[in-house]
Amino acid sequence: MINFSEVRQTNEMIEKENLDVRTITMGISLMDCIDSDLQVLGQKIYDKIYSSAENLVRVGEEISRDYGIPIVNKRISVTPVALVGGSACSSPEDFARIAQVLDKAAHDVGVNFLGGYSALVSKGMTKADRLLIESIPLALSQTELVCSSVNVGSTKTGIDMDAVRLMGSIIKKTAELTADRGSIGCAKLVVFCNAPDDNPFMAGAFHGVTEADRILNIGVSGPGVVKKALESVRGADFETLCETVKKTAFKVTRVGQLVAREASERLGVPFGIIDLSLAPTPAVGDSVADILCEMGLEYAGAPGTTAALALLNDQVKKGGVMASSYVGGLSGAFIPVSEDQGMIGAVDAGCLTLEKLEAMTSVCSVGLDMIAIPGDTKDTTIAGIIADEMAIGMINQKTTAVRLIPAAGKKVGDRVEFGGLLGCAPVMPVNGYGCDGFVNRTGRIPAPLHSFKN
């Protein structure tokens, strides 16, 4: 039988340490909506999303009430739109009209983001892929809830450098088109290497083509809970440290598993995976950087940061896989700058640089995330940063991503305010030396060797 102290511990995690289920994301396949008439396609997409997800928000709130656990976001991911819109769209503007349909559907069912305005181009771009990518700045400037992602590389295929170069310009254009709102369009645009098909987290969620018609993926969170647990083992050896992270991750994941089971039953949609990620929010006490500091670093970014993060990431997974049989998505620690008070503090203190963040991304999910850079950064420089990050993912057989915000009109030291979960970002300096000659080469970087690993 449950005892008093266990009940108190759970409720303290919820009330004081920001334990929550970060997102219930319903993946919806749009493959059966494909039509060569744009109008018909739009209607079919709207109808499919609406009929699949009309109860999602209500059920999320019911579960939240029944168990006393906050479920912060309810979201939708759809089949990459480049695959769905190919036969109906002949211009970027046509694709942008699909984005508007998605936005309307998302508003009408009450979710707070919809992902899948995406293209998968790790080896090459079809005409539809290229049109979709070219439409991203327009689509993101005309919509509020639509998120976009482009997968430009994988361990199996190498990196499509033509897409990387194109994305450098697209990110810049998106920033300029949404300049009046702090270049917020870029906060909803991710460039991936090895993008997972079942990621529930935004902005990179899409419903992969290998998935079922509809599926529920759950993202758990809880950096505050891990931080609090580590406070009780200050100065202890690494074994104790690891055990503590593992046990905490187990508990957090079990809550996700419960919500997943309930949501799946009540909505009649099969459960897909739990994404075991420590996802910070701008709220005080909900920070991954604070966990690193609790481990003994003065600031995130100090020497030792990569090792501490590697340990954290690995232990979270080890604890989490014990708690759920279906783990997937990104699963690891997120290190977005703007969404994490501790990261922002480290940048302000001059301790955390873009280069250190890049090193950190080689041991954790996901990548260079929510980092504001000067608005006058060259397209080719952004492409160079993307290429570096994609190379880390390709060689290490992991997901990496880039979500940079070249904040229009801002310089190093300025701040960009996004509000809500997206937080606020200090503009960070970028290495100003050129890479034009490299990124302007056309073609692909070939897939890496899978042997002789050193």
Partner: protein
């Protein structure tokens, strides 16, 4: 049997248990176990209850209990289904 956990926390005053129990009785909720302490004037109670024969939706019970605590007794009352605690603390 469907079980739920009710926790009551707040400044001690007359009639907390009476208030909560009267509500439970009206709503056909049977109490299976109670543990209660008072530390430095602060009242802490946990109840394990049987919610199998509820006539209202569980969410409504949970909201009404929270409102009872907030508006009438002056304590915080939470009512949660038992599984969340079970799953978190038992392998």
């Amino acid at each position: 049997m469907q079980r739920a956990i009710i926790t009551v926390v707040g400044k001690d005053t007359i009639g907390i248990i009476a208030g909560v129990c009267a509500y439970l009785a009206q709503n056909r909720i049977n109490i299976l176990d109670i543990s209660q302490t008072i530390v430095q004037g602060y009242f802490n109670m946990m109840m394990i209850v049987d919610v199998t024969s509820l006539e209202k939706p569980f969410g409504q019970i949970s909201e009404e209990l929270a409102a009872l605590g907030r508006d009438q007794i002056g304590v915080q009352i939470k009512c949660q289904k038992e599984e969340i605690f079970d799953l978190m603390h038992r392998i």
